[in-house]
């Protein structure tokens, strides 16, 4: 209704200039009907729970593969989830906690601290990239940063295995190599995903906090030693 009024007004406005009032208004008006609301035959309500869980797990696994082989695809950005980051974060925190839990002293990085470092660190990086003018959404960035901890978690597992063998110079060298490699991998993978959404002249400014974030995590992993 208001549209026709608007058109009328526009037409009368035009008629003041040159066009006659009785020009017929023609055209097709296509209104999207409510069929958009309905999923076309695809319903997840009556499928077994196992399928649902497996599908979600497969999605998470797919994203792990994306992180391990970071080619420039937007799958990690398009359908973000926070399950993978939560899983990785909890695993890492538990592994770092493990050595100190059974001893009396409250030493070593605590579960909560690792947890807080990871989440608050990613939130700060995300806010920083937003402030620098990035076009990525908040949770997309959290998702990418969380998934890119995967190499570091793998490095942590390797470190635990190496530490079982003994802690000498050789073991430290092996751990240093593994952690450095995985730190580089994490930084590279996350920047491959994140940098595209940034203004081209400011990539270095966005990469620096990411570098610092993974550096601190990698350094915590490297200096971890299970207490006897």
């Amino acid at each position: 209704m208001s549209d026709t009024e608007l058109t009328d007004r526009q037409l009368t406005g035009l008629s003041d200039i040159s066009i006659a009032e009785d020009i017929p208004v023609e055209g097709d008006i296509a209104v999207p009907v409510g069929s958009l609301r309905r999923d076309d035959g695809f319903s997840t309500l009556d499928e077994p729970v196992k399928e649902t869980i497996l599908r979600d797990l497969r999605a998470v696994g797919n994203k792990f593969v994306h992180v391990l082989y970071p080619k420039r695809s937007s799958a990690l950005l398009r359908d973000w989830d926070l399950w993978g980051p939560l899983l990785l974060c909890v695993t890492l925190a538990l592994l770092l906690q493990g050595g100190a839990a059974d001893s009396d002293e409250q030493g070593g990085p605590q579960f909560a601290e690792v947890f807080v470092i990871i989440w608050f660190g990613s939130i700060i990086i995300t806010l920083n990239s937003k402030l620098l003018g990035g076009t990525i959404s908040f949770f997309q960035s959290l998702c990418v940063l969380g998934y890119c901890i995967l190499p570091l978690t793998v490095a942590m597992v390797v470190c635990r295995i190496v530490l079982v063998g003994g802690s000498g110079t050789v073991s430290f060298a092996v751990r240093l190599a593994v952690v450095t490699a995985s730190f580089g991998w994490s930084t590279f993978a996350s920047t491959a995903f994140l940098v595209d959404s940034q203004p081209p002249n400011r990539k270095a400014l966005v990469v620096y906090p990411v570098f610092l974030f993974y550096f601190v995590i990698g350094w915590i992993i490297l200096t971890f030693s299970p207490s006897q």
Binding site: P109, E113, V216
Partner: protein, 339 residues
């Protein structure tokens, strides 16, 4: 379906809350009237209102039913419809309010981000040149020097300093108490940056210096670059002589740069002395503090934590036979020391 009707009513009528109360009272009456088909016992105004509402709901229901294909039955349960509509309206109202609150909060967050965005409007080259300039004092005190009002560099420098401090604490033998160290490091760095900036700003306000809070934050933040370099080197190479040289050289240079900038923006001998003396003393002592006292304090803290950790238990055990009350009081008294 009911969400739509609720939204619609609250949107179109500004007296929604008053009306809702009215309708709450008459909720059961609607059903009765539908069953008995009697209009006595209720004012006509209410009835008119009811019918209008019911018609509206019917419309909404019809709209919804167009997608659900079972439009025929809805007309018969108008009474139930009304009750359901009211419930739905209340719930929808609450949901809508909560949603509005949350949305406005999120909007505020984003608005705040937009407010902060100009302060992060830098290029990598600018940051690099400002980092280098922070170690080059400019001997120009007659004309106000330019101080960039920017927060990216200072913020990143503070985070870097936190990481370096953590590293220093770990390598200085305080391997345990990681989390406490993390919190302490963050608290120290941010506390120094924000606290001293506010203090300088306050002093500058007192002595009538031309500087804004933003410029203070930026100046002091970039001044931390020298600290970062010195601490990164001296935490890894343990020579006291090297530290003193670097402390005087890099710390002195960054302090001189801040002092020169402040000098050029202050008028008068006493104000200059006051402001610049405070800044240089605070800045130089902070570096000393970070290098020496910090991990010593932490180590001392650890000693005091580990020492009395066992002591109160022993003391309580020993004192129990003598006097229970006294022992508990004493153990209570020792608790704050432990904490």
């Amino acid at each position: 379906m009911s969400t739509g009707s609720g939204n619609r009513n609250t949107n179109t009528e500004p007296w929604g809350s008053f009306d809702d109360n009215l309708i709450q009272g008459g909720g059961s009456a609607v059903i009765d009237m539908e069953n008995m088909d009697d209009t006595s016992g209720s004012s006509f105004e209410d009835m008119g209102d009811m019918h209008q509402r019911m018609k509206e709901e019917e419309e909404v229901a019809a709209e919804a039913a167009a997608t659900e294909d079972d439009a025929g039955e809805d007309g018969e349960f108008l009474g139930m419809k009304g009750l359901k509509g009211q419930l739905g309206r209340q719930v929808a109202d609450e949901v809508w309010q909560a949603g509005k609150r949350q949305a406005s909060r999120a909007f505020n967050l984003y608005a705040n981000i937009d407010i902060l965005r100009p302060y992060f409007d830098v290029e990598p080259v600018q940051v690099r040149s400002r980092l280098i300039e922070s170690l080059i004092p400019v001997r120009m005190v007659n004309f106000p020097q330019k101080i960039a009002g920017e927060l990216y560099g200072p913020l990143m420098l503070v985070f870097t300093l936190v990481a370096i401090l953590l590293h220093g604490m770990k390598t200085s033998g305080t391997v345990i108490r990681e989390g406490t160290l993390m919190g302490t490091a963050i608290g120290t760095c941010f506390g120094y940056w924000l606290g001293v900036s506010s203090f300088i700003y306050f002093l500058a306000y007192l002595v009538n210096a031309q500087i804004t809070m933003l410029q203070t934050l930026s100046l002091l933040g970039y001044g931390l670059f020298g600290h970062c370099v010195v601490l990164l080197i001296t935490y890894n190479i343990h020579f006291h002589f090297l530290f003193y040289v670097l402390w005087l050289l890099l710390g002195g240079l960054s302090t001189l740069r801040m002092v020169a900038a402040l000098l050029s923006r202050t008028v008068g001998r006493t104000p200059r002395l006051l402001l610049c003396g405070t800044v240089s003393v605070l800045h130089m002592l902070f570096l000393l503090y970070l290098h020496f006292a910090y991990h010593k304090i932490v180590e001392g803290l650890l000693d005091s934590l580990e020492g009395p950790n066992l002591a109160p238990i022993q003391r309580v055990a020993r004192d129990v036979p003598e006097m229970t009350l006294n022992a508990t009081v004493r153990s209570l008294g020792t608790l704050p020391v432990v904490r």
